[in-house]
């Protein structure tokens, strides 16, 4: 019923849009430079440097998606959370499993027969310091090589043709609580990788390795002195609060930056024109904010850096002195948007997204802006000027109680003081929960609809701050958490967001968090998966469901699409429940304890009734 209601709203919106189409053609035509000509491949999990996850393939369309069927399947042999993207280069598909991180090369000309596999044999002990299931988010291809990270902190380079190991470099230490789960990005013959472990008080970093030798070229820490953070004369943040010497030290209690988190476990995007990479930093450690007074820089923010030197260009902090583990690692999608000039945007307080004044202003003062779009864990969709780090807009995409908006003059989020954690006190109804409005699961963006497709959860929590003791290699948290559906709604949603009009266009509520990634295509079809195990195709313009298929287990992976050797368009996704949200199933947790899985178990008590562990790749095509 909820869905039908939303459909009505979305149809209404569409009618309005149609009526104003001429105007819109001028003002929201948007978009970015099209990603380079479509070659039918999918060589990196985010599809392209811009992280749009948009494919220009259009064989699968709104009117034929209902005919999709399974072309072939492949068991990964590992029954943990399958968060990786199956990538495609030529007639080969590559995928990496959760721990023990087996890398498979599959033959697309032979229904996925194994060409070769590589077993990196990560240390078993690494499983004990992985906060949120033993996931891996994928591998990346560049110039004949495959790069991926292992849970025990090794970066591996393989010959894509043979699977032969070219080099393997250890970049972190599991005994300190460091693991690696993220997808590397390759820019200018450098593999960029970051660590996980914000729940263990590790010190976050982004590291560049030479693709040919595996040698470390530079490392930029997320806490500590400017010299460690590669902050120098080029650093020109937009806001006053990010300016000053050694803020990575001064915004912490003495020495605490050394165990301060800010890990880099999310996504990296790259603007070739500006020669800038963008990536987010994770939560500060410990979770309990009372134990670390200060802004805790440079955690929970976004860095723009030169990929060649690592030197920071600007930084913006989503959550200064983060209170609820709202990591800032969401993908920063690179698009050029036709939106209101900066003067207009900054004059309108956030949250006021229905303002007629704003709409009018848009129609008169719109201009093409080079922006980043990011749906953040704290529940806001941000639009930032990617050359300066200025926040152009920040609007809630779920119900938020933890904060009251973002002050566009100072750039600072306005925390709700009623929800400020205090040791020994249980704060009720904090929204979003620590898992955020959106967690790791990446959005897609279509230049045809100018919409951002957000797979996300809708959870609030009770939060009790407690003491935390730092013991190397053990969790450093200081919080008891219990999550539940936010504001009485459903626990998940898949929605389309208009970044120009700053509003949700349509939404599909889901019973469980939508913990999968998504993709958009030129056939105006988007895809995502549910934790029950349904893989779904949706009309990108209206949100109308077009097709679904029940896979063997819950889906938490990233779908990809590609042109097969036979010239047909395929869609691939891994099925296999897990990750933080699915750990109740993949790690056999006991949901009688609401605080299990860092409090996520309470919201997922019924998941074991609808799905069981799995690990299977599904590849779909039209008949």
């Amino acid at each position: 019923m909820h869905y039908i209601g939303l459909m009505h709203v979305s149809l209404l919106v569409l009618r309005i849009l149609t009526r104003a189409s001429l105007l819109l053609a001028l003002l929201a035509s948007a978009a970015t430079a099209q990603p380079s000509a479509e070659d039918g491949q999918w060589t990196m999990p985010a599809k392209n440097f811009q992280n749009t996850r948009y494919s220009a393939l259009d064989q699968i369309k709104i009117d034929n998606a209902k005919n999709l069927r399974v072309a072939w399947t492949f068991s990964t042999g590992v029954n943990r959370g399958q968060e990786a993207a199956p990538i495609v280069v030529g007639d080969t598909m590559f995928l990496v499993t959760p721990y023990p991180n087996i890398l498979y090369a599959l033959d697309l000309k032979n229904k996925g027969a194994v060409k070769w596999k590589f077993e990196p044999q990560p240390a078993a002990a690494a499983q004990g310091v992985a906060c949120c299931d033993v996931v891996n988010r994928g591998c990346v291809f560049d110039k004949g090589k495959i790069f991926f990270n292992t849970l025990d902190d090794n970066v591996c380079a393989l010959d894509a043709a043979t699977g032969k190991s070219l080099w393997k470099t250890k970049v972190g230490e599991i005994n300190r609580g460091e693991t690696m789960t993220m997808v590397p990005l390759v820019v200018h013959d450098k593999v960029l990788v970051g660590n996980s472990g914000g729940e263990f008080g590790v010190r976050g970093w982004l590291t560049a390795l030479d693709t040919n030798s595996g040698q470390i070229v530079w490392r930029a820490y997320s806490t500590g002195p400017d010299s460690d953070c590669l902050i120098g004369p080029e650093f020109k943040p937009f806001y006053e609060s990010e300016r000053g010497k050694d803020l990575g030290v001064k915004t912490w209690p003495p020495e605490r930056w050394q165990i301060g988190g800010g890990t880099v476990w999310g996504w990296i995007s790259y603007d070739a024109g500006a020669n800038l990479i963008f990536y987010g930093t994770g939560n500060p450690a410990p979770w309990n904010p009372e134990l670390r007074p200060g802004d805790n820089k440079w955690t929970c923010g976004v860095f723009a850096r030169n990929p060649d030197t690592g030197q920071a260009q600007w930084f913006y902090q989503w959550n200064p002195h983060d209170e609820f583990a709202h990591d800032g690692v969401s993908e920063n999608i690179i698009v050029d948007l036709s939106i209101g000039g900066s003067a207009v945007a900054s004059a309108v307080p956030s949250g006021n997204n229905n303002s007629d004044a704003l709409r009018t202003a848009h129609t008169t003062a719109s201009a093409m802006r080079k922006v980043l779009i990011s749906a953040q864990r704290n529940g806001y969709v941000y639009v930032l000027d990617r050359l300066t780090g200025q926040v152009l807009s920040a609007d809630p995409f779920i119900r938020i109680t933890a904060s009251k908006g973002v002050d566009l003059k100072t750039g600072r989020i306005i925390n709700n003081e009623e929800k400020t954690p205090q040791i020994g006190k249980v704060i009720r109804d904090v929204a979003p929960a620590s898992a955020g409005g959106k967690d790791w699961q990446p959005c897609a963006w279509s230049p045809r609809t100018n919409l951002l497709y957000i797979p996300h959860q809708n959870l609030a929590m009770d939060y009790e701050a407690v003491e935390a003791s730092y013991i190397e290699g053990t969790p450093y948290l200081g919080a008891n958490i219990k999550m539940y559906a936010n504001g009485g709604g459903k626990r998940g949603e898949y929605c389309a967001w208009d970044s120009v009009r700053r509003k949700k266009v349509w939404a599909i509520p889901e019973e469980f968090p939508v913990w999968s990634g998504t993709l958009a295509t030129a056939g105006d079809v988007t895809f995502y998966g549910t934790m029950e195990g349904f893989f779904k195709a949706v009309n990108a313009r209206t949100g109308e469901p077009l097709w679904q298929f029940k896979t063997e287990s819950g889906i938490v992976g990233q779908p990809t699409t590609f042109l097969g050797p036979d010239g047909r368009q395929y869609v691939a996704v891994l099925s296999g429940v897990g990750g933080w949200a699915g750990a109740v199933v993949s790690a056999d947790l006991d949901t009688r304890d609401p605080t299990a899985a860092l409090g996520f178990a309470n919201a997922m008590k019924d998941l074991p009734q609808v799905t069981a562990k799995g690990g299977t790749l599904y590849v779909f095509a039209l008949p």
Binding site: P122, A124, Q127, G473, P475, Y476, D590, T595, A596, A597
Partner: protein, 170 residues
């Protein structure tokens, strides 16, 4: 020699009030000296509510709670169910804590004094109803978690093995 010493101390253990560190240490020594004594040790710690209350505090202080939550698990396996990967006997749990286990349980050797390990063992056993319920903690001091150990029905532990995919001995 150790056996003799332990036996001598064993006599002092008849005192029924809060155990001193010295006394707890003696329990430990008996245990490592002779598995034959383990039944008596189990009885002693599993019935001592002071020790179990201590164990609960220590369980938080040494960050056990970070991985195992309040028994439901997370990064580590649940402790409140009847499945025991490395055994439910006190000395087996002691071994898991002190020496660690290959699939992620770190060794707390040198981090937790032995005199504090046994109370943690007793508290862990109480989560699944393996300890004497009249001695188990009757309430939780924090945000409402699982049922307090004193209300947990007794369970029968059973051994499980990890899936093949998780076994990567080095």
């Amino acid at each position: 020699m150790l056996m003799l010493m332990s036996c001598k101390r064993e006599e002092r253990a008849l005192v029924t009030q809060s155990p001193s560190l010295e006394m707890q240490r003696s329990r430990y020594e008996v245990n490592v000296a002779s598995n034959g004594e383990s039944a008596r040790i189990k009885t002693w710690f599993d019935r001592n509510s002071w020790s179990m209350a201590q164990g609960k505090q220590l369980y938080d202080a040494y960050n056990c709670v970070g991985c195992h939550a309040h028994g439901g698990g997370g990064m580590g396996p649940p402790l409140m169910d009847e499945k025991w990967i490395y055994g439910s006997e006190p000395q087996q749990i002691y071994g898991s804590i002190v020496y660690g286990r290959p699939n992620g349980m770190p060794s707390f050797h040198g981090k937790i004094p032995d005199s504090q390990v046994w109370p943690i063992v007793a508290y862990v056993r109480s989560m699944s109803g393996l300890a004497d319920q009249s001695a188990a903690n009757p309430r939780d001091d924090h945000m409402k978690g699982p049922l307090p150990p004193s209300s947990v029905p007794e369970s029968t532990p059973h051994e499980v093995s990890l899936p093949e995919s998780a076994e990567q001995p080095r």
